[in-house]
C-alpha cells in the first residue's frame, strides 16, 4: 500500500517546523521560503493550513513538461522532478492547478514535494500530528481529488 501525506489543518498551530524540515532536507539550510510544503495562516479566522502536492493522479505538471523531466517514482507514487532534465521553462508551474510546483530562481529548476523517498521530513517534524504519512486510502484526499476532477478539461479522466 502506498502512503500519502495526510493534512489535518485543525491540528496545525502554524509553527513552520514542517517548512524548516522540508527546506533542510532539500536545500541543506533552514529556509522556509524554499520549502515545498507551505503553511498558510488565516489570521482573521485563526486558521493554519499546511499545503503541498497531493501527488494527484492527473499529474498536471508531468503532463505539461515538454522535456520529460517529471516522472513517477514507482515505489512512492511521487511525481519527481529530474534536475538533470528540467530546463526551467516553468510551464508546469502554471499548469498545476494546485500551485504546488514552483520555480527556484537560484537553481533555475522547478521544485515540488517528492515525499522524501518515502519518509517525509515534514511529517516527522510536525509536533501536533497535523501532517502524517499514512496509507493512501486513509488520507481522505477526496476533497482535493474533487477539485482535480473539476479542473479536468475532459481528456484525462479515463486515460
Amino acid at each position: 500500500m502506498q502512503k500519502s501525506l495526510h493534512i489535518d489543518p485543525g491540528k496545525c498551530t502554524g509553527c513552520l517546523q514542517c517548512e524548516m524540515a522540508c527546506s533542510y532536507d532539500n536545500e541543506g539550510a533552514f529556509n522556509p521560503s524554499k520549502s515545498r510544503i507551505k503553511v498558510f495562516a488565516f489570521h482573521d479566522e485563526g486558521r493554519f493550513v499546511p499545503y503541498t502536492c497531493t501527488q494527484c493522479d492527473e499529474a498536471w505538471c508531468m503532463q505539461a513538461c515538454p522535456v520529460d523531466a517529471i516522472s513517477v517514482d514507482a515505489a512512492t507514487g511521487a511525481k519527481v522532478v529530474s534536475d538533470a532534465r528540467c530546463v526551467g521553462c516553468k510551464v508546469c508551474t502554471i499548469a498545476c492547478p494546485f500551485g504546488t510546483i514552483n520555480y527556484n530562481a537560484d537553481t533555475g529548476k522547478v521544485v515540488k514535494c517528492d515525499l522524501c523517498e518515502g519518509d517525509p521530513a515534514c511529517a516527522t517534524a510536525c509536533p501536533t500530528d497535523a501532517i502524517t504519512f499514512i496509507d493512501a486510502n486513509w488520507t481522505g484526499l477526496e476533497r482535493m481529488r474533487a477539485w482535480a476532477a473539476k479542473t479536468d478539461s475532459g481528456a484525462q479522466a479515463s486515460a
Binding site: F30, R47, P127
Partner: protein
C-alpha cells in the same frame, strides 16, 4: 554558522544602509540577541544619552538559534535605552519576524540617528533600503503591516512596526510584529518613533545553517520531546496559555488588584483561561478560537480570540469581529485585575487595541490602575479625565485604551506611564514601578522572590528577568516557599543569569518551564562554533547581567533604585495566604549584592567586572 555573521547598520540621518561583519569575539562572550546587542549598545552610545534623541541607537537582534529547527527558535529582541525607564531596555518578541531577519542574513540591525521624515526599512535579502513612510505614518500597526505587504505585492514579507502611540510619544509604545507579537516593554517603540522609523519589513530567503546538523537534529529532537512530555509546556500552555496562572496566582494571594491595594481579585475567575473557554450567551462560541504558535514553537501557547459581537465595545464596529491575538496572563491581569475590571470582552478589546496601536498592555493597564487610584482618591477629576475612572469600569478601560492608543484626550496623560503621571499629580507613591517600569502580574508580598526580582531587574520591574514563580509556585526546578525570603537571593541570581543566556540564544524563555541549561547548551553547541556548556552559559549570563548593570550605573542609576513602592514595603496583604506580609526586600537585597560580587551599595566591584571580562 548559526550566526549569520552579518550586521546591517542603518543610519537614519544620512539614509544609508551598510553591512559589516558581526564581531565574533563579542559573540563568543555574549552569545547573541540580548547579550550581544547590549554589548554593541554599551560600546556605541553614552548611557547618559536622552533615549529619544538621535544619539540613542535601537538594535533589532536575533540569536544564533533564531531561524533553526530548535523549538521556539524564532525570537528577536529590540535593545535600546528605554524611553519609559532611561535604563537598558531589551524587549523580546516571538512571531515570525525574527526568523525572517535571520533568513535575510542578519544577526542584527542597528539603527542610528533620526530620519528627517518618516521612513520604513525594506529588506529583501541583501537589498536594504529606506522607503518613504508617508502613506503609513498615522496608521495603526495592523494597517501598516497589511499595507506594506500589499504595496510590495508580497504577502510573505514580515513586518515589525509601531502604531500611532509610538509616533505620538506614548512612553510605553511597543514594536509589534506579525499583527500581535510584541517587543513590548520599556518603550522601545517610543524610541523607534522618535527616530521617524515606522516599520521594518523583511523578506529573507537565504537560509540558516548550523555547524553540525546531525548532532543538532539529535539534541533538538530530544529537547522537543522534553517539552512535549512536560506538564506545563506539553499540556498546560497549549491548552490554556499563560492564562493557566490566573486562578492559581489569585488563590495563593499574589494577584495584585486595583493598583496593588488588594492582593486577590474577586473577578479573577471571570477573566481566566477557564472563562476564555466558556461558550458565551450571544453566539455559543467561546472567546478562545484556538492556540497558535510562534515560529518554530512546539509549545504553541499563543491565544487566538474573538470578542463577543454584541459587546458594547464592538457592537457597532465589525472590523473588530475578526479573530486576533487573545489575552495572555500578564495582559489579562494588567487590563483586568490591576483596574478591577472583570469584563472578559472589554479586556480582549483592550488587548486588541494594544496590539493595533502598539502599546504595552502591562504598563497601560497598571497606569490606568494608578489613574483610577488617583481618581478614587479625588486627585483626578472627571473634568480632567473626561469620564469617571472608577475601579472596575469596563467603559473606562475601553475608552481609555482608545484614547491612549491614538494619543488623544486623557490618553496623552496615560501615555506618560504611571511614574510620570503620578509625579505630575503629586502622588508618586501610587506608581507601582521600579526604575520607571510598572510591575507585572505577581505581587511581591505573596511571592517574595518576585519582590527581589522586580527591585533588581535591569530594565525596570519585570517578571521575565528572573521568573522565580517557576520555583515558588510551580516547583521548577524545585519548590520553594513563596512567603519565605531565605535562599531567594541565590534563586534570583541563578534565574537572572540563566535567563540572560536564554534570551541571548534566540529561543523562548517559556522553554525553561521544562528545559534547564543542560537541555539548551547542547543545542547551541551543535549549532555554533565554540564550546557551549551549561557552565559557560551561566558565565555568559552573569557577564550580560553585569554589563546591563554597568550600563545603568553609567546612565545614573544607583543601588538606591533597587527598591519597591511603599505600598509593597509597608502595606501588608489583607487577604489570602500572604495576609499580614509585606515585601521583605531588606532581608534579601544585601545577600543578593554579596552573591553578585557587588559592593553593599550595589555597585559591581572591579574584581567582579574583571573576573567576567566586562
Amino acid at each position: 554558522m548559526a550566526w549569520a555573521r552579518n550586521v546591517l547598520r542603518v543610519n537614519l540621518t544620512a539614509g544609508t544602509c551598510t553591512n559589516e561583519p558581526l564581531n565574533m569575539d563579542w559573540a563568543m562572550k555574549y552569545l547573541g540577541q540580548r547579550g550581544l546587542a547590549t554589548k554593541y549598545l554599551y560600546e556605541e552610545i553614552d548611557p547618559k544619552v536622552d533615549p529619544l534623541s538621535p544619539d540613542n541607537k535601537l538594535i533589532m537582534t536575533t540569536g544564533p538559534l533564531t531561524g533553526t529547527m530548535a523549538s521556539t527558535a524564532g525570537r528577536y529582541s529590540v535593545v535600546t535605552k528605554g524611553a519609559l525607564t532611561g535604563a537598558i531596555a531589551c524587549s523580546n518578541s516571538g512571531g515570525f519576524f525574527g526568523n525572517e531577519m535571520k533568513n535575510a542574513g542578519y544577526d542584527m540591525i542597528i539603527f542610528e540617528g533620526k530620519a528627517p521624515k518618516p521612513v520604513y526599512l525594506l529588506v529583501q535579502d541583501d537589498s536594504a533600503q529606506l522607503v518613504d513612510a508617508a502613506g503609513f505614518w498615522g496608521k495603526s500597526v495592523w494597517d501598516t503591516e497589511e499595507g506594506i505587504k500589499a504595496k510590495h505585492g508580497d504577502p510573505q514579507i514580515r513586518v515589525a512596526s509601531i502604531g500611532i502611540s509610538g509616533e505620538k510619544g506614548c512612553k510605553f509604545a511597543c514594536v509589534v510584529n506579525d499583527m500581535h507579537r510584541a517587543a513590548g516593554r520599556s518603550g522601545v517603540g517610543t524610541v523607534m518613533g522618535s527616530k521617524n522609523l515606522k516599520a521594518v519589513a523583511i523578506r529573507g530567503t537565504k537560509g540558516v545553517k548550523v555547524e553540525d546538523f546531525a548532532a543538532f537534529a539529535q539534541v533538538t529532537n530530544a529537547a522537543k520531546a522534553v517539552l512535549a512530555e512536560n506538564a506545563v509546556t506539553g499540556q498546560g500552555l497549549p491548552a490554556f496559555g499563560t492564562q493557566v496562572l490566573m486562578n492559581v496566582i489569585n488563590e495563593m494571594g499574589a494577584l495584585p488588584t486595583r493598583n496593588f491595594r488588594d492582593i486577590q481579585f474577586e473577578g479573577a475567575k471571570d477573566i481566566s483561561a477557564e472563562a476564555m473557554a466558556e461558550p458565551r450567551r450571544s453566539d455559543g462560541k467561546p472567546n478562545l478560537v484556538r492556540n497558535g504558535a510562534c515560529f518554530g514553537c512546539t509549545i504553541a501557547c499563543g491565544r487566538v480570540s474573538t470578542i463577543d459581537r454584541t459587546h458594547f465595545s464592538v457592537a457597532e464596529r465589525p472590523e473588530y469581529h475578526k479573530a486576533s491575538g487573545g489575552l495572555e496572563y500578564e495582559a489579562a491581569w494588567a487590563l483586568g485585575a490591576a483596574t478591577g475590571v472583570n469584563d472578559l470582552d472589554a479586556l480582549t478589546f483592550a488587548n486588541f487595541l494594544c496590539n493595533e496601536q502598539g502599546m504595552d498592555p502591562i504598563t497601560f493597564g497598571t497606569t490606568l490602575g494608578a489613574a483610577m487610584d488617583m481618581y478614587e482618591e479625588g486627585v483626578l477629576t472627571t473634568a480632567q479625565t473626561g469620564m469617571p475612572l472608577t475601579f472596575g469600569s469596563a467603559e473606562a478601560l475601553v475608552k481609555m485604551v482608545e484614547l491612549t492608543g491614538k494619543g488623544e484626550g486623557f490618553g496623552v496623560e496615560l501615555g506618560l506611564g504611571s511614574k510620570r503621571l503620578c509625579e505630575k499629580y503629586g502622588r508618586p507613591e501610587l506608581s507601582m514601578s521600579v526604575k520607571g517600569q510598572e510591575f507585572p502580574a505577581y505581587d511581591g508580598r505573596g511571592i517574595q522572590g518576585m519582590a527581589l526580582t522586580y527591585a533588581t531587574s535591569n530594565r525596570g520591574a519585570c517578571h521575565l528577568r528572573s521568573y522565580t514563580v517557576a520555583s515558588e509556585v510551580l516547583g521548577i526546578p524545585e519548590k520553594t516557599d513563596p512567603l519565605v525570603t531565605d535562599g531567594k537571593a541565590g534563586l534570583v541570581k541563578a534565574f537572572q543569569d540563566a535567563t540572560a543566556a536564554v534570551d541571548s540564544a534566540g529561543i523562548c524563555v517559556f522553554t525553561t518551564f521544562a528545559w534547564t541549561l543542560d537541555d539548551i547548551a547542547p543545542q547551541i553547541d551543535a549549532a555554533c562554533e565554540g564550546n557551549w556548556t551549561s557552565e559557560y552559559l551561566l558565565e555568559v549570563g552573569e557577564r550580560i547581567w553585569n554589563l546591563e548593570r554597568q550600563f545603568n550605573m553609567k546612565a545614573g542609576f544607583t543601588g538606591a533604585d533597587d527598591t519597591l513602592p511603599k505600598r509593597l514595603l509597608k502595606d501588608a496583604a489583607k487577604t489570602g495566604p500572604a495576609t499580614g506580609k509585606v515585601a521583605e526586600l531588606d532581608k534579601m537585597l544585601p545577600e543578593y549584592y554579596e552573591l553578585r560580587g557587588w559592593t553593599p551599595d550595589g555597585t559591581p566591584s572591579n574584581e567582579t567586572l574583571s573576573r567576567l571580562g566586562v
